[in-house]
Amino acid sequence: MTEIVIPPVDWRVATQLSIIFGWASVLLVIALFVPRSRTRIVGYLAMVGAMVAAAVGIPLWGVNAETFSGMLRLDSYSLTLNWLFLAAAAITMVLSLDYLPRQGIERSEYYVLVLFATGGMMLLAQGADLIILFLGLELLSIVLYVLTGFAYPRNASEEAGMKYLLIGAFAGGFVVFGIALLYGATGSMNLRAIGETLAQQTLTLEERIYLLAGAALVVVGFGYKVAMAPFHMWAPDVYEGAPTPIAGLLSVGSKAAGFAALLRFLVEALAGEWQIWAPVLAVLAIATLAVGNIGALTQRNVKRMLAYSSIGHAGYILFGVIAAGAPGGIAGQRGVEGVLLYLIAYTFTNLGAFGVLIALEHRGEAAWDMSDLAGLWSRRPWLAVAMAVCMLSLAGVPPTGGFWGKFYVFTAAWLSGMGWITVIGVIVAAIAAFYYLRIVAQMFMAEPAREVPLPMDRALRAGLALATLGVLILGFLPTPAIDLVQRVVLGG
């Protein structure tokens, strides 16, 4: 009988993942012994875990390795994204510290679940194999279904969780079916192996059709995750119903993870078919821009507006994804960089914006109508300034982080030879500025409609300050962030 040989495992690749998953499991047990009145402690411990995982990543910069038979990869691309996910998770938890007790939904599992979600995101960024991508997607989704419905005495939250679950199950189904077709066509699950098979051009016509059909299904699956039109329908309802910090995490972390996987999939496995998928994605990007921005334009509910705007931003990020696959030249590299920089800027900006909504919201009552923002400047100047900075960044006004993100993806799209989508993107950006500005106008130029008490604790302030300062620093001194993303080589 032959001996079973366990292949050597390069633990460096899985260090951050192990820390997150291990710490989350331990924390689940610790939480049992934490009295209900001290639930915050679990939150702090979870944040420490995220910070440790981030710090451990620093010496791993420059490592480029695979393990578990090439299923899991660590490269500068995934490491950068991991940091982003950890930052998003940490800010989300900071924003939640005050929010949960105020909403009467403080339970220690919450923080543990956020950690698990972060692990799922990291799997999506590090997965070099379709199975891992599927695992990551499902892990992330299942945790997020729970978190979305976390405020379950509230109908809206329950409904949102349900809706997300149903739609998410569809998305998962698409991905699995797509993976099956891809495997059938190429005989491999490994992204790079699929890419190599394609490059050799040994596929028969039939196999190629299977391959493209499978790829399309996988793109649809991830399209749901990133709220790309026409797979965006769930987003506004889910964002509105979910607890506000979770809506923030959905809009940045889960979206970034979806893009991380989509980008790697398209560039590593399907670069050879760029001519086919680029125009398709370009049309989808334009549709996404249109749906998101027109939708946002008509909203009076600020939380829904942010949900639609988040759909719109997926459109801009798609510009970068399209450019990333462009053969030859610097367009491909610029595309990857653009996606990453956009995601970094967007993460800080949107978390800041959701943070302001959290500050406005108080027990049992939503304060998301435009009129609730009226006169915020005279009531809470710093809150108004933070929101204004975030709105200007979302609109892409310099000097904010959002400006550099847009500048980057527009340039990349132009370089990839798709100048026409840049022109459309620019026009849309001009229109979009209007509804972001409407919020600024409401805060600074209108009289308060009603007195909304605004209790704010230190944690919320710190979280907001962190996000807003991040946006401004990215705007004034973008060089460190740009240097970081320029060192990123996807899979290289």
Partner: protein, 507 residues
């Protein structure tokens, strides 16, 4: 040569002042006024230092201060001045303290934020006029929007929110096209020469040496993208509608003067980018732009004549002046461009001072409606005389500043092969109309019978007098000695005009 980075100091002093003002306690209004005025006066001193060190005999940019900003994209923080930017920097530096002082006592709430925003706006304007990197220019260009929108929206008139949002939406939409044009030019330059840079001097050199050759289609497209951005900002007819609402709703007192400088950015950009970078297309487009400019001159003058609100009247007068400035720029010769730059300075001085006068009148009467005034020369002789001087300067009486710049612009457009007398004649009609509506305004407000409400109206107070004299002095000085105005810019303007010569020769 000079170790002090004077240009950067000029740019950043107001911003520093803004931060300081924000840090002061809310109640201490006197300190807030002192700090903001101090910062703006220091900026003025620095700007005068720049002017002092400026060598008028040299063409091109002087006192270049450069730091890498985003080196991997070829973006740098590069600022410097040439003969054209020098005047606009000086103008901004002069108008800012005037606007601050004029606001004392008229801004009732949140004075701290008000001063901070005016100072930030000044920093943005300095940045626009001195940036020598396209992206830096764009950043400053866009940055000016935020304080302006807030100034209009928080302290403006009854329709302030509408005006602020309209202002922002219009000008932001215009400027994203500008960004697109800049990215396009950057990429084409990089692909042609291998050097990816936003540095204007480098790109201009490549264009002039022919290392970057644009085919006619690409050049016209880029020209168009830049033009949209600047035309909205300028504002050229028919892109002007934001401007009259913005001006009419802007807070009274001097802020409208600083906001008035915003529209100079548009004209400045047209010279700096459209004419200098794309001379062939500028020559090709000159007749069409000239038509827009002439329509703007006449249309705005006609509307101005019909206004009963003095502030609106002056707002339309600004649009009309702008038409003349654009006409001068697209004459594409030395007279036209030099006249346009001079007119930017002169109209900012006279119209700005007249806006101040309207603010003073409104404070005395509680209204800006022309029909509620009359006979003021009798009760307020000093105010009447100074206003008369400003009106005469504005309508172009020889010996005052308006005359010389209007004359040179008209001369330039008449002699321009692209424009000629067909354009100059209606423009002259516009100048005549300007005399009509301004004298009409003056006659209604200052002559005739005094309404009883104004019988006790006080004459200019010392502070008001000082403000008006600060603005009126150059009106007289430039009128008597125009070479002071034209001398420093001569080399820079000649250089730009020479670039267009080969493309005008065929006409």
């Amino acid at each position: 040569m000079n170790s002090l980075p004077l240009v950067s100091i000029t740019i950043w002093l107001p911003a520093l002042g803004a931060l300081t003002v924000l840090a002061l306690p809310r109640e201490n209004v006197a300190a807030q006024r002192g700090v903001s005025l101090g910062a703006s006066l220091l900026a003025l001193a620095a700007a005068l230092g720049v002017a002092f060190l400026f060598d008028p005999a040299r063409a091109g940019f002087q006192m270049v201060e450069s730091v890498a900003w985003v080196p991997s994209w070829g973006i740098s923080y590069t600022v410097s001045v040439d003969g054209i930017s020098l005047w606009l920097v000086l103008l901004t530096a002069l108008v800012t303290p005037v606007a601050l002082v004029a606001s004392w006592g008229t801004v009732e709430r949140q004075e701290r934020a008000f001063h901070a925003l005016v100072l930030l706006l000044a920093s943005g304007l300095f940045g626009v006029f001195t940036a020598q990197d396209m992206l830096l220019f764009y950043v400053f260009f866009e940055f000016t929007l935020i304080p302006t929108a807030l100034l209009i929206g928080i302290w403006g008139g009854a329709e302030r929110r509408y005006a602020a949002v309209k202002f922002f939406a219009y000008t932001f939409s215009g400027s994203v096209f500008l960004l697109l044009g800049m990215i396009g030019l950057y990429l084409l330059h990089g692909q042609a020469t291998g050097v990816y840079t936003f540095d204007t001097a480098t790109i201009l050199a490549s264009l002039q040496l022919g290392t970057l050759r644009l085919d006619a289609g690409a050049e016209r497209l880029l020209f168009g993208l830049f033009f949209i951005g600047f035309a909205v900002k300028a504002p050229i007819w028919p892109f002007h509608t934001w401007m009259t609402t913005a001006h009419a709703e802007a807070p009274s007192s001097g802020v409208v003067d600083v906001i008035g400088l915003l529209i100079k950015i548009g004209a400045y950009g047209l010279i700096r980018y459209n004419v200098q970078f794309f001379p062939a297309t500028a020559a090709w487009a000159a007749p069409a732009v000239g038509v827009l400019a002439v329509i703007g001159i006449l249309y705005a003058a006609w509307i101005a004549y019909q206004q009963t609100d003095m502030k609106r009247l002056l707002a339309y007068a600004s649009v009309s002046h702008l038409g003349l400035i654009v006409l001068g720029i697209f004459a594409l010769n030395v007279q036209g461009i030099a006249g346009a730059v001079a007119h930017m300075v002169n109209s900012a001085l006279t119209t700005g001072a007249l806006f101040l006068v309207v603010g003073m009148l409104a404070a005395r009467r509680g209204s800006r409606e022309l029909k509620s005034f009359g006979g003021l020369w009798k009760t307020t002789p000093w105010l009447g005389s100074l206003t008369f001087l400003l009106v005469l300067g504005s309508i172009g009486l020889p010996g005052l500043n308006g005359f010389i710049s209007e004359f040179v612009v008209l001369q330039g457009s008449w002699r321009s092969p692209g424009l000629g007398w067909r354009y100059a004649l209606p423009a002259i009609l516009g100048v005549v109309l300007a005399a009509v509506y301004l004298l009409h305004m003056y006659r209604t407000a200052f002559m005739g019978d005094t309404p009883p409400e104004l019988a006790q109206a006080p004459d200019v107070r010392p502070r008001e007098l000082a403000l008006l004299i600060v603005l009126a002095t150059p009106v007289v000085v430039f009128g008597l000695y125009p070479n002071l105005l034209f001398g420093p810019m001569q080399q820079s303007v000649t250089q730009i005009a020479q670039g267009t010569l080969p493309f005008l020769a065929g006409r």
